[in-house]
Amino acid sequence: MKTNDIILQTVAKVASLVIILFSIYIFFGGHYSPGGGFVGGLLASGAIVLLLLAYDLKTVANMLPVDYKLVVAAGLLISSATVSGALFFDAPLMTHAYQYFELPLLGHTSLHTAVLFDLGVYLVVIGITMTIIQTIGESE
């Protein structure tokens, strides 16, 4: 049945933007407040799912031409590289390093390799969710 989805589509666009912003916020805040790469990633993929719901697979694929399997791989690579990075510093694997910096706008912040690790998680989660949803969606 043909339906008119303009209301939904308009709202979805706005909402997706809000969700993605929120996900990035939650991802960076992970070390200090609840959240982190995992929830952040899930939320980001939630935004994409919302778009999928409002539009359809092909349209969204045109909007975001990404191979999500490679996103998974890239995320895994980043995380495992962070884990193995310690090899080059002669420290036990997975040893994180961090430093506090005074950055403009953000104020007193720490740059932490754990964030890099978490970035891997973030990407993996987006990749996974989207791979699953996309493949199942396509197969129907």
Binding site: L87, P92, L93
Partner: protein, 493 residues
């Protein structure tokens, strides 16, 4: 600080990830996995050398001191098993080149194999009970995918059952860890061991021990819990069966070995007795299955069950001979099972069936495969000087020492029936009237037989060179008898 300890896990992980990027380029995938596998063997040899020189190596991941962070611990047992795993991975990989088909290759087959190795190696090396769960899951997830990859009817049907059973066992694993955490308040196995020893293993710990036994027993396929195995291992293509048969159940058995020697060894009257009884039943039931079938895959699959019983029996003895027998037998069985599956796979590919009654006379056209199988078969049955013997002998000696005469008799009888079951394959498949098989010419038998022959050579070397590896085995056995060695190495007191 021994990052080497973790490299056997990290290497396949990185390889697996990188292979995802090359999913369309099969040649590159093959090359990379081969390189990584060879490197893996070298690394694990290095690891064994280092453990041999310096004793147990422990890596405190993330520089967090022992009971708080995750410890990766390489004692000799783990290192030996890691080496064996890598050798098997290498052989199966070569076999896969010629048999798995481009379809699966393009859909990340090699990545999944690498991830499976990650899980298996990780499970052998970790010193943290929850991390063990995570590695189990890595291994299981890869195994689910490998089992179902290709999506044929039989694969789907059996995967459902396989996944279901393992989901249950994972849930039980989680709750067992939860119970244990509630009682002892820590997750590091060395620390757990120390705390249990301090408390003298009260009744509740014994209960938890039994629930761990159920969890690992489900994975390792011991007596009342193995029923899922024959069906599930029947469905996937041969290289996958070889990996499963050689590695997966052994990880379960390893976990039993580790937990019942390191953690729950204070109430042997009950726990190890129970283990022994289950082990004997496992052998019996496996033997019953193995002698009845006329399907080559089924026969070997039931032989896995027998081997699991043998090893757990060794564990239940808890004396030096029994434990070293169990270790030796595990290594032997991993190698020889992989070889047998690969060979049986060649037979099935040539004849297009796995029903023995529909084959015959293969020795005429494929003498090398036939003799490789013959040696593998007698090695399985434990005829000296091949690798099966030393393990069996040690188990027998351990049984006498532990006055477990029933087990003694069962091992002997089951050895005979094991030989009967595999010789049945030889007599009816390789001997007998040669028949014409369509498609037989398409099978690159000589290439496929190479990895199998490689494994058989390893097995022979293992048998003839028992003396050379015996120091390693006994070094592997020491911490099992005296957990203090392990604990001190991890907690550095």
């Amino acid at each position: 600080m021994n990052n080497l300890v973790f490299l056997p896990v990290l290497l396949p992980l990185l390889t697996g990830i990188i292979l995802i990027f090359f999913s369309k380029y099969i040649k590159i995938q093959r090359f990379l996995s081969l390189v990584s596998s060879s490197l893996g063997i070298i690394l694990s040899c290095l690891l064994i050398g280092k453990v041999h020189d310096q004793g147990i190596l422990a890596l405190q991941v993330g520089s967090w001191e022992a009971p708080f962070g995750i410890s990766i611990v390489a004692d000799m047992l783990s290192s030996l098993l890691v080496l064996t795993t890598n050798i098997i991975g290498f052989a199966v990989l070569i076999y896969s080149f010629y048999s798995i088909g481009t379809g699966r290759e393009k859909f990340y087959y090699y990545s999944f194999v690498q991830f499976l190795l990650v899980g298996v190696n990780g499970a052998f090396l970790t010193g943290d009970i929850f991390n063990l769960f995570v590695f189990f899951e890595v291994m299981l997830m890869s195994s689910y995918v490998l089992l179902v990859l290709g999506g044929t009817k039989a694969q789907l049907r059996e995967s459902l059952k396989y996944i279901l059973v393992n989901v249950i066992s994972s849930a039980l694993f989680v709750i067992s860890v939860a119970y244990l955490y509630s009682v002892v308040g820590t997750l590091n196995m060395a620390d757990i061991s120390r705390r249990i020893a301090e408390s003298g293993q009260p009744g509740i710990i014994t209960v938890i021990a039994v629930s761990f036994l159920i969890v690992f027993g489900l994975k390792g396929a011991i007596f009342p819990l193995f029923y899922w195995l024959p069906g599930s291992y029947y469905a996937p293509p041969i290289p996958v069966i070889a990996l499963f048969g050689a590695l997966l159940t052994k990880v379960g058995v390893y976990a039993i070995l580790r937990t019942f020697t390191l953690l729950f060894y204070h109430d042997q009257q009950y726990t190890h007795e129970l283990l022994g009884i289950l082990a004997i039943f496992t052998i019996i039931v496996g033997t019953i299955g193995a002698v009845g079938y006329w399907d080559i895959k089924k026969i070997i699959i039931y032989n896995i069950v027998i081997a699991v019983g043998m090893i757990t029996f060794g564990i239940s003895l808890m004396n030096e001979q029994g434990l070293s027998g169990a270790i030796y037998y595990t290594i032997h069985d991993m190698i020889i099972k992989a070889a047998l599956f690969l060979l049986v796979g060649i037979m099935a590919m040539i004849t297009g069936t796995s029903d023995l009654r529909k084959m015959g006379g293969l020795i005429q056209a494929y003498p090398y495969a036939a003799w490789t199988f013959f040696i593998a078969a007698i090695s399985l049955a434990g005829i000296p000087p091949f690798s099966g013997f030393a393990g069996k002998l040690l188990l027998l000696e351990g049984a006498v020492e532990g006055e477990a005469y029933v087990g003694f008799a069962v091992i002997l009888i089951s050895s005979l029936l094991m030989l009967y079951s595999v010789m049945k394959i030889f007599i009816n498949g390789f001997w007998g009237k040669p028949r014409a098989y369509k498609d037989a010419d398409l099978v690159p038998v000589s290439r496929l037989a190479v990895p199998a022959a490689l494994l058989v050579i390893v097995s022979i070397a293992l048998g003839l060179g028992t003396e050379a590896i015996y120091p390693y085995i006994s070094q592997a056995m020491e911490p099992l008898i005296d957990p203090a060695i392990y604990i001190n190495a991890v907690l550095k007191e």
